[in-house]
């Protein structure tokens, strides 16, 4: 089961509210390659994973992604600050204000709502692990685009840290894939 820990995995600071950047960062809250997609892609695969190594890696990384979702949400909330409806309108968040006010919601940078068709889970562990490695690459690229979109050193620092985590996750999924392939080659499979 899961519990909540009242501590962020890494500090989130912003120099000043920045509504355009808040809108951009929604990409990593409810977009295709978001932390939400990452967490539930990996966690739904846990039941089918065939070994302790494969199971623990999707559960441990999937759980870390939930902590990243929390950080991304905190970043958006701080960047929104106490924006007025007019300011949100000017930043392209007018429709978001109408439907959600200043609340977070699972949609991407363009306001498109999250859908489970962004993710995949199969009963083939190799298929899953390759899916996950691709997902980590896509999330890394998205963080790189986000870093290019801001001059706020504090925001860049948090984004760079999150980007780094995607690199580590890619590495660990790759190692889990090696272990699974090794295990499967020891006995006949069809």
């Amino acid at each position: 089961m899961w519990v909540y820990v009242k501590q962020l995995e890494y500090p989130v600071r912003v120099s000043r509210p920045d509504l355009e950047m808040a809108k951009n960062i929604f990409a990593q809250f409810g977009g295709p390659d978001s932390e939400f997609s990452a967490s539930w892609r990996y966690l739904t695969q846990a039941w089918i994973m065939p070994s302790g190594v494969a199971k623990s890696i999707v559960i441990d990384i999937g759980t870390e992604e939930l902590a990243h979702l929390e950080m991304v949400g905190t970043m958006i909330d701080l960047l929104l600050g106490d924006a007025t409806p007019e300011q949100m309108d000017k930043a392209g968040l007018g429709a978001h204000y109408v439907e959600h006010g200043r609340s977070l919601f699972l949609h991407d940078a363009a306001g498109v709502p999250w859908t489970s068709s962004y993710v995949q889970a199969h009963d083939d562990p190799i298929t899953n692990l390759r899916e996950n490695m691709a997902a980590e690459q896509k999330a890394r690229t998205t963080y790189e685009h986000l870093i290019c979109k801001t001059n706020d050193e504090q925001v860049r620092k948090t984004l760079a840290w999150l980007r780094e985590r995607e690199v580590v996750h890619f590495q660990r999924f790759g190692e889990a894939l090696d272990r699974v392939q090794e295990r499967m080659s020891r006995r006949p499979h069809f």
Binding site: A46, W47, G52, V53, S56, D60, T63, E64
Partner: protein, 86 residues
């Protein structure tokens, strides 16, 4: 029926965890209720004792540094409750 001490320990942990969880929700909306607070603390203490016993006798319960792994890396070792239902 076969005796399964681990299953019994898990069942007892689930019982005390549920008592604590239920009182947690109640206290969130009734923070001034002293009786509920005392019951919560008693359940939390009992749960922690059982938690420590489980980790001593069976293995780590949490990932991400919330549990130690004496001797060797025990975390990937089964059985996993998502597959056994226990």
């Amino acid at each position: 029926m076969a005796v399964n001490p681990v299953a019994d320990l898990v069942r007892e942990m689930q019982t005390w965890h549920f008592v604590a969880l239920e009182l947690n929700l109640f206290l969130d909306t009734h923070p001034a209720n002293r009786r509920a607070l005392e019951d919560y603390n008693r359940a939390a203490r009992r749960f922690r004792e059982l938690w420590e016993r489980y980790e001593r006798e069976v293995g780590p319960l949490m990932d991400h540094g919330f549990s130690e792994s004496p001797g060797e890396w025990q975390w990937p070792k089964g059985p996993w409750p998502i597959n056994t239902g226990m």
